[in-house]
């Protein structure tokens, strides 16, 4: 299978009756994602896009086999909803919600870790395994099936690269956005290790940005453990210091988190550096011969 999800993955949508949850469920379902149930407290018994809605996760689980959950629940209700998912033993939860209080985020991530649930996000666009399944907001028309695995912090950048690769006839195995931070469940490192083991992935594209040190840690991991070719694009090279540019995590503080420090670490680990998105195509074509 591709990493994390495949054609048979059975999906529960949290906050399915909300504006965003409803639209995204419609698009996901049309794409082929196997959404078996939705949950919105107080809206049990309704049907959205032919998907049955329940009041509680437990009720949904009694009626359906569920592998993963994706949340569109707004911040004030998110913590409770995530705890409910984790307590009901769902082992993979994608949190698309942005703007969650920091104390709540830290508690959700800790509770998930203590109970063995993987979290993608929060604030993530989700992931797509082209031709099989998509969980989240990746616009389907920008992707096609193939053997390049993409991991990004930014959702928008993972769309941009999907679009660029697809327009150049390079297909993708799975495209994963982990979220803009500053808190993360699954990290770039976790996804890199999954791609390394994945039989359907030949080349890995790591999309990073200024701020924090995750890309530097990823470089260490690549040096030690990743044998597949890795291409990386780090965005924000021209960004001014000390200013937050959209992602809470994308801020250069002192000498920490500069594009240069990340590029140097990645180069040292044998990663091929693309200067912009078009260069990723050139580097892939070079590897493929």
């Amino acid at each position: 299978m591709s990493i994390l999800i495949d054609k048979n993955t059975k999906v529960l949508v949290l906050g399915i009756t909300g504006k965003s949850g409803k639209l995204q469920s419609e698009i996901m379902k049309k794409y082929g994602t196997n959404i078996v149930a939705g949950v919105t407290p107080g809206k049990g018994g309704r049907v959205v896009e032919q998907i049955p809605v329940y009041d509680f996760v437990k009720e949904a689980k009694e009626q359906h086999k569920i592998d993963v959950a994706i949340s569109f629940v707004p911040p004030p209700y998110l913590k409770d909803s995530c705890f409910e998912v984790i307590k009901n033993d769902i082992k993979f939860l994608v949190i698309s919600t942005e703007g969650i209080p920091e104390h709540d985020t830290v508690e959700i991530l800790k509770y998930a870790k203590d109970n063995g649930t993987m979290i993608l996000g929060p604030g993530t666009a989700g992931l797509i395994a082209p031709g099989k399944c998509k969980l989240g907001a990746h616009p389907p028309q920008l992707y096609c099936k193939g053997r390049v695995g993409v991991v990004s912090k930014s959702g928008a950048l993972s769309y941009e690269i999907g679009k660029t690769l697809t327009e150049n006839s390079i297909g993708q195995s799975t495209v994963v956005a982990i979220g803009g931070g500053p808190f993360w469940g699954l990290s770039q490192l976790d996804i890199l290790e999954m791609f390394e083991k994945d039989e359907e992935t030949d080349i890995i594209v790591l999309l990073g940005e200024i701020g924090g040190t995750m890309e530097v840690e990823a470089a260490k991991l690549i040096k030690e453990k990743i044998r597949k070719p890795v291409i990386s694009l780090i965005v924000g090279k021209s960004a001014p210091k000390g200013k937050s540019l959209g992602h809470a995590g994308a801020i250069i503080e002192g000498n920490l988190g500069t594009a240069e420090s990340k590029i140097n670490a990645l180069k040292d680990a044998g990663v091929l550096i693309a200067h912009n998105h078009m260069e990723i195509v050139k580097l892939i074509k070079k590897i493929e011969g």
């Binding site: 703007g99 104390h103 508690e107």
Partner: protein
Amino acid sequence: MKLYEFQGKEIFKKYNIPVQSGCLICKNDLTKNLVPPLVLKAQVQAGGRGKAGGIKLWDGNKDISQIADELFSLKIKGERVKALLALEQVDILREIYISMTFNRGKSTPVIIVGTSGGMDIEKSAQSDKENIHFIEFDPFIGILDYQIRWIAKKLQIKDVAEFRKIIKAMYQIFRDYDASLIEINPLAVTPHGLMAIDSKIDLDDQASFRHHALFQKLEEEKKSLKDKENSINLESTDDTITFVPLSGDIGVISDGAGTGLLTLDLISDFGGKVASFCELGGITNSEIMLKALRLVKNQSSLKSILVVLIGGFNRMDDMAEGIIQFKKELKDNVPIFIRMCGTKEEIGKQLMKDENIPVYNSLIDAAEAAVEEARGN
């Protein structure tokens, strides 16, 4: 929300963290009955206040109004001084650094302590590693007693009971107020015990829905002190827009941070300079698009606007509506270059076509065109 020192100390008082007694002095408000010696501290949010001359001692030799005027005429990192905190003088035997925040890489709350206060913690954390300690704690358990005793030992604090009270109070504030940071720098060892000489509290704006009344009260206090000349950065804090004014001539709007950063890099590669960077946030609507365009349009040196859209959660039909509305209210003719794709792009592109607004498919082509336009080609 960053709190002023006097606001933070009000909270400290409420939680029984010892602070100096004192009062707040606003401009033209020196009628209070003040007795020397007093320390006068400029209330600004910028760091480096001491170095900028923002803290002065009044020993009674000069008239207090003279010292106050000197402080009120200061501009600290561009921020005007609108209020002073007048505090009793205390004997300080030793200074300690202490803060409570999150270790974001590890997603855990952490206490950071240093054996000498008054320092630049970011620099010291790299240069003075033996004297800085990071103590992580479980969000569900809180700070355990052995951790407090361990910190006290590292800081050579003898009265653990007194120190425990301060740590527990900090933790309570951390939780009760949804704080992202509580910093006491310095925490002073005085002949009469420990005392918080300064206060720096950051509240998490994302948690404001839990603290309506509090945020309103603090916001009103701050409004009276806020430097109006400096308010452009603060214009859009009420929604998802990130707006960063820069010094070039191309206004950039994106609906995703990563693609926005890539766009800045492309503009730089083409030799262009960005006037402002505006990121709309993941889930947005036509009104936010319109607001962003107005914000960007306000920049005086503007020669072209580049709008880069690649919607996932964000719908292109909504974005098109915002752009069309802006075009209608536009009096002069600032050229706008738009790249549009993603969710509902067929409808968005059709709407733009109906209004004869050209749309690019390629990010590189749109960025290059915006740079060329700014250059006057």
